[in-house]
């Protein structure tokens, strides 16, 4: 059996497949369907210092091969997570990545300081497209990406920092470089692309928030291209995501240079998507005589 273990900034994952933030809660529900201990990691629902109720409903819609969501960072707040959910996640022997968001630089500093040493990694959400004050303001301009990254990094003495990048920007590679300059240990991409679906009978957007973040199989080529561009631009590890539904999809990202991948929307289409991807990776590597998944990373040959 091929080795699936990967190491991202000192954190060893048993395989490169991580549940993407927002599709997996804090893991308890999916653990009723399968043992989430098989996963390389879980990125939590986006956490804020205070509880948030999120956006009005409907919060979800479909396009062809994609979905749109605008949940708006509903979460129980950091205290509830620390008291009620963290121990469960840690007991599952999977890397725990706390996804965090804030309205201000102080929010980011505060939440990172309180999570320092308590989780395996912190993922900075500076790219949520669905709330006015969800960090998107920090995620667009490279100067502010660098600033919020360095504020978060200062608050994290022991825990590596991932910065999750928005694709709704002028150059995602420039922003990735800004995160690296700000002290990020890793970047993850892509967050969702902002989109809209209209109900032509009512002449209104289907989602209450009007716009939503587009994700799912249909966005994968865009995500792969962006991961490729970012991997060329930075020296820190890259976690790729966007439309991954099977092992072959995950391998595209890894060949483009990603050290690991996240899977989001596929969890809705198939609750067993991630265990199947992990098994599929193992099968593919064995069938191709590849002994270690790390040998696949960044092996892209351009035409």
């Amino acid at each position: 059996m091929a080795n699936l273990k990967v190491n991202i900034c000192g954190v060893e994952l048993k395989n490169p497949v991580i549940a993407a933030s927002g599709t997996f809660g804090f893991g308890k529900e999916f653990n009723e369907i399968y043992d989430i201990g098989v996963l390389g990691g879980v990125s939590t629902k986006g956490l804020t210092l205070e509880p948030r109720l999120g956006n009005p409903v409907p919060r979800i819609a479909e396009g062809y091969g994609v979905i749109l969501n605008a949940v708006g960072l509903q979460n129980p707040g950091l205290d509830v997570f620390l008291e009620e959910d963290l121990d469960f996640l840690k007991s599952k022997n999977t890397a725990v990545i706390a996804n965090v968001a804030g309205k201000t630089l102080d929010d980011y500093a505060g939440i990172c300081a309180r999570l320092d040493g308590k989780v395996d990694m912190v993922e900075l959400n500076i790219s949520c497209p669905n709330v006015k004050c969800g960090g998107m303001a920090f995620g667009i301009r490279p100067e502010s990406v660098k600033e919020v990254t360095s504020v978060a990094k200062s608050a994290l003495k022991r825990t590596p920092l991932i910065v999750k990048l928005s694709p709704n920007v002028e150059s995602i590679a420039v922003n990735a470089l800004a995160a690296q300059e700000g002290g990020a240990d890793c970047v993850s991409l892509i967050n969702t692309l902002t989109g809209m679906v209209i109900d032509i009978e009512r002449r209104r957007p289907l989602i209450a928030n009007n716009t939503g973040g587009v994700s799912g199989a249909g966005i994968k080529p865009i995500a792969v291209r962006m991961v490729y561009e970012v991997c060329r631009a930075v020296d820190i590890p890259v976690i790729g995501m966007g439309g991954i539904t099977c092992a072959e999809d995950a391998l595209e990202f890894i060949i483009a240079g990603a050290a690991a991948v996240q899977v989001g929307t596929a969890n809705f289409t198939d609750t067993l998507a991630m265990p199947k991807i992990i098994e599929g990776l193992s099968r593919w590597l064995d069938a191709h005589g590849v002994k270690d998944i790390n040998e696949m990373r960044g092996t892209l040959v351009l035409n």
Partner: protein, 257 residues
Amino acid sequence: MKELRVTVAENVPIAKNVYKMRFLLPEKTEGLACGKFVNISVGDGAHLLRRPIAICGYDETSVTICYQLKGAGTRAMSEKKVGDTLSCVLPLGNGFVVEEQEKRIALIGGGVGIFPMLSVLREYAGLGKEFYSYIGFRNKDAVCMEEEFSALSQELHIVTDDGSFGDRGNAVSAFFAGIDAANPDVIFACGPTPMLRALKTELSARKVNIPCYVSLEERMGCGIGACLVCVCKRAGGKGNARVCKDGPVFAIGEVEI
């Protein structure tokens, strides 16, 4: 709950734009009950979300759901043939429960909301309960399952919006017209939001204190409680509830409608 690949055994229209699908379970499945739902894929690559649909009936080897054609996804479902397979997560949600001491049950259903009501009738038929059913449809083309409702109910009142079948009116007004005679111990309801809102308003205005449970509908993501897409507001500013996991059945006073 678990994810299974189920096999279509029947998939036929039963009213205008309404289909009944019975599918076979590949293995024994615990926890099936009236008022719970399944989250079923439509079986093509274009639709990434499953369709959450109430259980209308079940036995040890199969489950029946009834669904309305609303868009391309449910149309794709309606084209599935006997023998085709679909991915299905089930059973989901909390369901309706009739307590031992509750003997007289009022069932109020509007449109496709009649199917969870039928699931209650089927589950508790022959157990010494009396059912008073009030079901409403848009018009006579939408009427279905009326014979089974009639056979299993002590009393059945069918209404349509335009009076083309049964009396003209809606299920909630039919229920309140019959409430004194029915004298129910508990009320179950499922239907469009305006119908449930009218029920809540009228129960409150008439100071009716009979326990009442309603099944809510909302667009869902995961269907298992993880993604926080299908929320409703808890009454009294107590935050959000997840329709898929905390519901879909709620005490009518527990949530804002």
